[in-house]
């Protein structure tokens, strides 16, 4: 339980406001000094956030979300998505996220890709190419979320190949390793929507201990990106800790008035690089994951 006045959903709402105000930067087809790949990644992450926001009455009815989804539906008409789906293996997950989210909001256009996606899943290499384990979990999660048939191994089996399943030595972890830990927990728990039933209470306890220690480390490092992910990961385990309270207090204190959360690389930007595009580049992910953490911590409706 968080103390009164500490409301994760308020962090999420402010983050959503910033996202709404910076929507144009998520357009991968707009002219920009930011790489197109980064914008595609940002768009896919935004759309996944919208899918999670849809689960909560108090978020899905936000006027900002209506605008965001209208923007996403407009982008969906671009021929790029269908073409990429047929040409590149790594396009599947972003296109799946897009399709699942648009369907969840009832915004499926005539350009319905469901059948094409299902054919690709069945007949192409997308499910059998080699991916790191948490990416395989990600694929399984979004296929399930979108209601697509597939022959991927069970969550338990995919989990057993992850870093976290092997009780890693925390002293050796890189930031990328910690991202793989948080993401593995997101996918196996469907972002805290279901309990991880193949783990024993003792295993959950050990994992929670690792997650809370890492949360402390990233609070110390003022890395709000991983701190927010680890807060969400705690909730995916169905646990909270005294560090969660501290984490939420600091996230609330750190969030800018316009809803932006400063990313870990912001301080590396030179003064002459602090234009709107670079600020977006440095902060969009941290703002998105803060919203995600707020959503995961909010009671589902």
């Amino acid at each position: 339980m968080l103390p009164a006045g500490m409301v994760p959903s308020a962090v999420a709402e402010r983050s959503v406001r910033w996202i709404h105000d910076n929507l144009g930067y998520f357009d991968p087809f707009a002219k920009s000094s930011i790489s197109q790949d980064l914008r595609h990644k940002a768009l896919a992450e935004l759309v996944l956030l919208c899918l999670l926001l849809r689960r909560h009455e108090n978020f899905r009815s936000l006027p900002e979300i209506r605008d965001v989804m209208a923007f996403v539906a407009g982008l969906n008409e671009n021929a790029f998505f269908e073409a990429s789906l047929c040409r590149w293996n790594d396009a599947l997950v972003p296109v799946l996220i897009l399709a699942a989210t648009l369907e969840a909001y009832g915004l499926t256009s005539e350009n319905n890709r469901r059948q094409m996606i299902q054919r690709i899943v069945r007949h192409s290499n997308v499910c059998i190419i080699e991916r790191v384990p948490y990416r395989q979990l990600e694929l399984r999660h979004i296929l399930d979320a979108g209601g697509f048939a597939h022959g991927l191994p069970s969550y338990r089996e995919l989990w057993s190949r992850t870093l976290l399943a092997h009780r890693p030595n925390l002293m050796f972890l890189s930031d990328d390793d910690v991202y793989s830990i948080t993401h593995a927990l997101f996918y196996v728990s469907d972002f805290a929507a279901r309990s991880i039933d193949f783990l024993s209470p003792q295993e959950v306890e050990h994992i929670h201990e690792a997650v809370t220690h890492l949360l402390g480390v990233y609070i110390r490092r003022k890395n709000w990106d991983l701190a927010a992910e680890l807060l969400a990961a705690e909730k995916c385990l169905g646990r909270t800790s005294r560090h969660s309270v501290m984490g939420w207090r600091l996230l609330m204190e750190t969030q800018q008035a316009d809803g932006r959360m400063d990313g870990p690389y912001l301080k590396k930007l030179a003064d002459n690089e602090r234009d709107a595009e670079h600020l977006f580049d440095a902060c969009y992910h941290t703002t998105l994951v803060s919203a995600l953490a707020g959503v995961v911590w909010s009671r589902r409706s």
Binding site: N169, F172, R220
Partner: protein, 294 residues
């Protein structure tokens, strides 16, 4: 982690320290000799308390090197290190007049005060073992090590960590006593483990070793983070026994006028053997009566 692995690690470090003591014999007396002596003492006491040969040779050399020196020549050295060195040299059966004089002076200064500040608990304990002072019961421990203060340290700098270190060492008499009066002790132990992960993950081995000892003082000793930290430190041990993968910086150290063995590897190796011994060997504490007796 098995004590056997820690034992092999301490043996290797002891071998390296012995080699270094041969180098130190050729040099003028310095604080480095005392650090090496302490490292050898820790290895011997942690590995096999019946042995007598560990630091004896170096103690004899230090005794000889100290003979012409006055107390003033050593007064700028770390006071705990000086008193521990006095203890070790004395126990090895050699005279050390400058150290004796220093010990008496410090003991006299402490007698002026009913209580001792947090920072001087180590000195008071060793003085008591030396018979120069009573065992320190009236340590004025700052009671403000609370949940909130621990959280402040979590976001604090190295100085804040050192202050916490001093307070916990005082409260636990360097891990030889239960610390009963800390409120939120579990939370403090948690914060120390977080700081430990952060330090070792950032490859700050010296701070990590210090925090590993603190984590062991507050327990529990079999905690996963403590085992991971021991494993991490052992993996930083080179085949010759010293700790720290810094050889790739050797040129930069030379350019800065530093002797890598003495100025970098020696203090780090002593810190690491101290931390490994206290965190892994049941009952071993440098400042306990059994460790300070032959």
């Amino acid at each position: 982690m098995q004590n056997g692995e820690i034992g092999r690690s301490l043996h290797a470090a002891e071998t390296w320290l012995r080699g270094l003591s041969v180098v130190l014999r050729q040099r003028n007396f310095s604080e480095r000799s005392l650090q090496c002596l302490l490292g050898l003492w820790i290895c011997e006491r942690a590995l096999d308390q019946t042995r007598r040969d560990g630091p004896r040779e170096l103690a004899a050399i230090i005794s000889k090197q100290l003979a012409p020196l006055q107390e003033a020549a050593i007064s700028s050295f770390d006071s705990k290190l000086l008193l521990l060195a006095l203890y070790i040299v004395r126990k090895c059966g050699y005279p050390a007049h400058a150290l004796e004089s220093y010990g008496r002076k410090v003991a006299g200064a402490f007698r002026q005060y009913a209580a001792t500040h947090d920072d001087h608990v180590g000195e008071r304990i060793v003085l008591a073992r030396l018979g120069l002072s009573n065992y320190p019961c009236n340590i004025a421990v700052d009671p403000s090590v609370t949940h909130a203060a621990a959280h402040d340290v979590l976001r604090g700098d190295l100085e804040a960590i050192r202050n916490l270190y001093a307070r916990i060492c005082a409260a636990t008499h360097f891990g030889t006593q239960e610390c009963r009066w800390f409120r939120g002790r579990g939370q403090i132990a948690f914060v120390i483990r977080v700081l430990l992960i952060d330090a070792l993950n950032s490859y700050d081995l010296a701070t990590g070793a210090m925090l590993l000892r603190l984590a062991a003082y507050l327990g529990p000793a079999n905690e996963a983070v403590i085992r991971d930290a021991q494993s991490f430190l052992r993996l930083q041990q080179l085949s010759d026994g010293r700790f720290g993968q810094y050889d790739l910086h050797a040129e930069a150290l030379r350019d800065a006028g530093l002797d890598a063995s003495l100025d970098l590897y020696l203090p780090l190796t002593v810190s690491c053997v101290w931390a490994l011994a206290e965190s892994a060997i049941p009952g071993f504490r440098l400042f306990s009566l059994s460790s300070l007796q032959l």
